[in-house]
Assembly symmetry: D3
Homo-oligomer: 136 residues x 6
C-alpha cells in the first residue's frame, strides 16, 4: 500500500503486540506461558479447519468487544482465505448476538480490514445526511 512502510499498514499494531508478548513470555511464570501456548494451539486445524476456527475467534472477539483481538483475527481470517463477504456475515452474527454496542468495534474492524486490503477510500467530499449520524 505504501512504499514508505515496508511492513504494511498495520505494522505498528503488530510491533507493539510482538514486543509486549516477548516481555510477557520472558517472565518466569509458567501459567502465563502455558496459556499463550494453548492459545496458539486452539486455532490449529483439527476437526474444524483454520478458516472456521479463525471466524469463531473473530466473532467471539466481536461480541466481547476487544479491538486488538478483533484486529488480530481479521488479519488471520484474511490470511486463511476468508472473503470480504464472508467477513461481513461473521460481523453480522456478532452484531445481532452482541447488539448495537458492537457497532463502534465493527467500525474499527472495517477500518482495519480496509487498511489490510489497501482500499481505504478518500475522505468524503460532501457532508452526510443527518440519518447517517447515528449508531452509537
Amino acid at each position: 500500500m505504501s512504499g514508505a512502510d515496508p511492513e504494511g499498514p498495520v505494522a505498528g499494531f503488530n510491533a507493539y503486540r510482538r514486543r509486549m508478548n516477548e516481555r510477557i513470555l520472558a517472565e518466569p511464570n509458567q501459567v502465563v506461558r502455558r496459556f499463550f501456548a494453548l492459545d496458539t494451539q486452539t486455532y490449529r486445524s483439527g476437526a474444524l479447519d483454520v478458516k472456521t476456527k479463525e471466524l469463531l475467534g473473530l466473532v467471539a472477539s466481536l461480541v466481547l468487544r476487544c479491538d486488538d483481538c478483533i484486529g488480530y483475527h481479521v488479519a488471520q481470517c484474511r490470511e486463511a482465505g476468508v472473503s470480504r463477504e464472508e467477513m461481513f456475515e461473521a460481523f453480522s452474527v456478532g452484531l445481532v448476538v452482541g447488539g448495537s454496542i458492537v457497532i463502534p468495534h465493527m467500525r474499527r474492524a472495517v477500518d482495519f480490514l480496509d487498511r489490510l486490503d489497501g482500499t481505504v477510500p478518500p475522505p468524503p467530499a460532501v457532508p452526510e445526511p443527518p440519518e447517517a449520524h447515528g449508531h452509537g
Copy 2:
C-alpha cells in the same frame, strides 16, 4: 430417545421458549418484532453456510455465557450436521477466549448435548479423585 416423551429430552426447554416468544411477538412493539425477524435471518445460508453460522452463534453464546442461547445453538448445530468432535473444538475456542468462567456453561452445554444424543451416562459408581473436583 424415549417413547414416553414424544418431543424428546429437551421439550420443556423448547416449550417455554416457544410460549414466551409468542407472548413477546403478540405485543404491538415493532422494534422487538423486527429484531426477532432479523435474528432468524442472521443464521440463514449466505456466503457462509448454516453450519458455520450456527457454530459462530454457539461460540458467541459461550463467551457471553448465556445458557439458553448455548442450548439453542447446540441443538441447531447438531441439526446442521456438526459432529461431536467439531462441537468440542468450538467449545475449546469459547473456553480459551472466554476463560475458566466459561466452564460451568460448558458443563451444562455438554449435559444438554448428551441429552440430545441420548447418551447420558449412569451416575458414577465410585468417588472421583480430588483432582477432578476443581474448575470453578
Copy 3:
C-alpha cells in the same frame, strides 16, 4: 390473582431476597452496608423522577443480563406507573443495545410481568410453526 397466595405470585422471589439482604446487612462490614444504602438512594426522586430512574435501572439490568435485577426493576417500574407499552419500549432499547443474548432474559422478564399482572395465558393448544422456535 390468587386467594391462596396472600403475598402475590412473586412472593418466593421477594422472600429470598429479603432474607438474604438481612443476612448480609447483619454482617459488620461497613462498605457493604453503605453500598446497599447508596443503592436505595440512587432511585429516589431528584432531577429525574422515580419512574424514569426505575426505567434506567431496568434497561441497565437487561443489558447486563441480571434476571433478579430485571425482576426487581420490572416490579418497581410497575409500581411507579410504567405502562405495559412503555415497559416494552424499554425492553426494545435493552434488546437493540445488548443484542440477541438479551432475549432469554426478556422472556423471563415478560413472564415475570405477566405474573405480576395476573395475565399468564393458558398453555398453547396447538403446536407452533417452526419459525417461532428460534431466538437463542
Copy 4:
C-alpha cells in the same frame, strides 16, 4: 468554543463515525443494514419520549462501558433537552449499577460533555490532595 473549528469540538469523533458507517452501509449485507435501520428506529418517540429513550441508551452504554456509545448518547441527550443535573443522575444510576469500573468511562463522558458545553476548565494551578488520586 473555538472559532478555529467550524464543526465544533467533537467533529473528529463524528466524522470518523460517519465515514465508517458509510463504508459499512455500502456493503451488500442486508442483516447489517437492517440492524442499523432498527437501531435508528429504536430511539424514535413512542410510548416513551425521545429524551427518556436517549437516557436509557446512555445508561445502557455506561454499564456496558462503550465510550463511543456513551459519547453519542450524551450528545443526543443534550440535543433532547437533558439538563446537566439530569445527566449526572443518569450517570449515578450507571455508576451504582455498573460499579467502579464505570468511573473511567464517566470521566471521559464528563470530559465529552464539557467539550460539548464549551466549559472545559483551565488546567489546575495547584497539585491536588492525595485523596483525589484514587478511583480506578
Copy 5:
C-alpha cells in the same frame, strides 16, 4: 451439619460438577484438557499463597457474576482458612468494582457460605420493613 447427608450440604452442587467434568475430560480434545489442567495449576502456591489466590479467584468470579465459580471459590477459600470477615471484605471489593448487579450473586454466595458453615438461620418470623426490599 446433618447426619443424613454424609457429603455435607452442598453435595449436589459438587456431584454435578464432578460428573460433568469427567464427561468433558473423557473427550479427546487436548485444548480442553490442557485448559482444565492449567486452571488447576493457577491456584497452586507460588509467590502468592493459596489463600490469596483463592480470594483472587473469588473476586474475579464475583465481578464476572458466575454463581458456580463463586460457590467453588467460596468453598476453596474456606478450606484455605479465609475467615468470614475476610470473605465479606473480598465480597465488598467485588461489590464496589462490579456494582449493584453483583448483589444477587452475593446473596447466593452468602447463602452458600451459610450452608457450608451450617449457620442457616430459621426463616424470619415477622415481615421485614419496606427498606429491606430493595437492591436489585
Copy 6:
C-alpha cells in the same frame, strides 16, 4: 527514570484522572460523591491488608478489562509492596479466569508496569519468530 519528567513516566495518565475526578466531585450529585468515597474506603486495611485488597482490585479490573483501572491498581499494588513475581501471578489468575481476551490488557499492564519500574527495554533488534505473532 527521566530527569525531564519530575512526576514520573505515567504523569499524563494521573493528571487526566485527577482533573476529571475534580470535575465530577464538583458536581452537586450526592450519589456520585458517596460512591467515590466508598470506592476509596473499600481498599483500606481491615481484615485483609492493603496489599491483598489492591491485588483483588487488580484482578477484578483485569477480568473486566478496564485499562485505566488496571493501571491504577498496578501502581497501587507496587506502592503496597507487591513484587513483580506476585504481580504476574495475579495476572495469571486474571488470564485463566478471563481468557485470551485479557491478553491485550495484560500487554498494556506489563507496559505500564515497565514504565513504573523504569525498565522499558530498547526496541528489539531482530525480527521475532512467527510463533510470537499470535495471541489476540
